[in-house]
Symmetry: C4
Subunit: 213 residues, 4 copies
């Protein structure tokens, strides 16, 4: 029901905050990484995931829409709930999650608190052949969040700038005849090793070299 909230930080708790929007203080669950970037009375935009259950109506908030998208994507895996998804997002930057997913690298997921070896293996296996999530504003590059956590500032690259380059490279390789899974692995390796801001052309060229090896 709610997808975004724009308001003022009214209270900060251990795993939640209260965001005041014109007098209504919404109780929003958040990860440690998000909470650590917030200050009382700060004006922010949060991307919200609404969870409705028979006895709960919960809001989870993220400064970047791609984090929200991964929060949802991770919980499609059996055994991963909100807590484990937050733990992973708090420990592993989103770009690394995409690489680890493409490479089936369970050790990355095992770094997260409360994620044991068995669950880490299942996460890596299930994510491996799936396209990473795109989030809500991916298609039209809406200014989602500027790095200083405020709502102002020049519009930044669309949610998940890294995701855009990744998808363009993968679809280029698929068009050249490679199957999607191989293409994803090659691109993930390149993005992990090379500077993640590498131009698209280089990413494709290096991925082709990787596939030819």
């Amino acid at each position: 029901m709610i997808g975004m909230l724009t308001g003022r930080v009214a209270a900060l708790g251990a795993d939640e905050l209260v965001l005041d929007v014109s007098g209504v203080g919404y109780l929003v669950g958040a990860g440690a990484r998000t909470l650590s970037r917030l200050e009382p009375d700060q004006d922010i935009v949060l991307h919200i995931e609404t969870h409705v259950r028979e006895d709960a109506f919960k809001l989870y908030g993220f400064l970047d829409d791609i984090d929200r998208a991964w929060f949802v994507h991770l919980q499609n895996i059996q055994g991963v709930g909100a807590k484990a998804a937050f733990a992973i997002l708090d420990t592993v930057p989103v770009s690394e999650i995409a690489n680890a997913a493409a490479l089936g690298d369970k050790s990355t997921f095992a770094r997260a608190k409360g994620v044991g070896p068995k669950l880490a293996t299942r996460i890596a296996t299930e994510l491996k052949d799936k396209a990473p999530p795109t989030g809500r504003s991916f298609s039209i590059g809406l200014p989602v969040h500027s790095d200083d956590g405020t709502t102002g500032g020049a519009p930044v690259a669309p949610a998940g700038g890294d995701s855009l380059a990744r998808e363009d490279a993968v679809s280029a390789l698929v068009n050249l005849g490679y199957n999607e899974s191989q293409a994803r692995q090659a691109v993930a390796k390149i993005l992990r090793d090379a500077d993640s801001e590498a131009p698209l052309g280089d990413v494709i060229r290096l991925s082709l070299k990787e596939l030819a090896a």
Copy 2:
């Protein structure tokens, strides 16, 4: 619970948008035809249908109230959910749906993605003898939506201008002694063939000729 939302397009996704209303970004499901008429930061009025389930609290949005009314009306038919209803509304203009319903013309419904022949037949059969939906503001002709998608502009014909002419013609024929089903079919044929803005008198005269044939 929510019937209308007036706000600013904050984000556009593949099958949903986020509409910001004084800081609260409502997540609203919408059809491709609606989304294609929207732009980021545009101020719009959406007619909302609220779906409450044990684990979901969903909002569906429409630029015209009559679309929302047909979205609800179509889902009274077994096997038609939100997705199929959107597919029909995205493929067939509302006036054509009313004609196809009156004429029991299943081929119109079969044009919609995901609507097979069996479901199309059931839709045509079940809609045939039912009066088309009227929507919320039908009774008093409130300005519902102007064509350029903004909230301003001169008040336009009430929701479903076409529906008004249709209903007036049908009730005139019923008053002349014809049964409702026959009257609806005749009027539907005239509205389909003739210019749908034809004056009421002509619609009644041509329908009578159709019934006398």
Copy 3:
């Protein structure tokens, strides 16, 4: 969750209205008597009863809090749902409902559409020995609604002015030793026959005469 809404009439339907409050159009079920007193774009205050069910989140609106209180009170009776409660409130003024309840007069309830003799009898019997509802602002006489349907205007007698006089008279008689049920019947008879704005003293004096007869 919601107890009152202050906003602008955005749309009027057959048995509901959309009330716009800062851009959110709340869908509010209402009775014919309430809807007949409203006009498009009118600013009003509605007293709201929220019904939450597994698959519904409904708001019902009333121009006077005492109507809302009776709407809830009537539905405590088995077989009386929102529809029947609205039918009774649309047919019988609240003060008459209180009299009919005290006097166990089923014919008053049978006047309402959809309320058959059996249900009317059960309503009259079950209400007979119960104190009438007081509503939310009864205790401190808050200005609830002025007669012209707008939010402004001088503060009027607290919700259910009639209910106040009734309760004061009944408790006076009970203090004089009469049992509550007898006291309620006597006061109801007086309020029904005499001018319902009769001063408290007269109501008590006439009720004592009634009880002594």
Copy 4:
């Protein structure tokens, strides 16, 4: 979903109030102690606990976040619902609840209306070895509420000033090797007997004397 509400008192009932926030009147359950400190049209901040059930969506409001925290904490005990929790909070100031909890003193809880000896004993036993609740803004000392019930005024000690001193003293004693339960009891005795605003140093010194006795 909702954690705080900032608005105007629109209506006061026996066990609830309506708080108007930009036109939406939220129905908020409250205890007698809270309601007695409110007046019609007063601007206030309420700390809200949201209860979602299959057929209910209830808001409970508190002028101090620590009261809300105890309201939740008490209901973790089997047999204590919202009504009993309010009864305890209406009868026993929060600082005394913390002392009674630490000392396992059931007589304090038995003072509350509707809390019999059996339930009082269970409350005292179950609370005894648990750390008192901290509330949402405990960690960063946000100005939660000033004593005159309005939202303005100089920022006061963070929610539960008393709780802060208690926790600091207990953790100091635990660091000196005492087990937590003993430490809590000693500190509770000191806070109950001595002036509850006693400086932290005195509280620790007197508690050590108590433990050495």
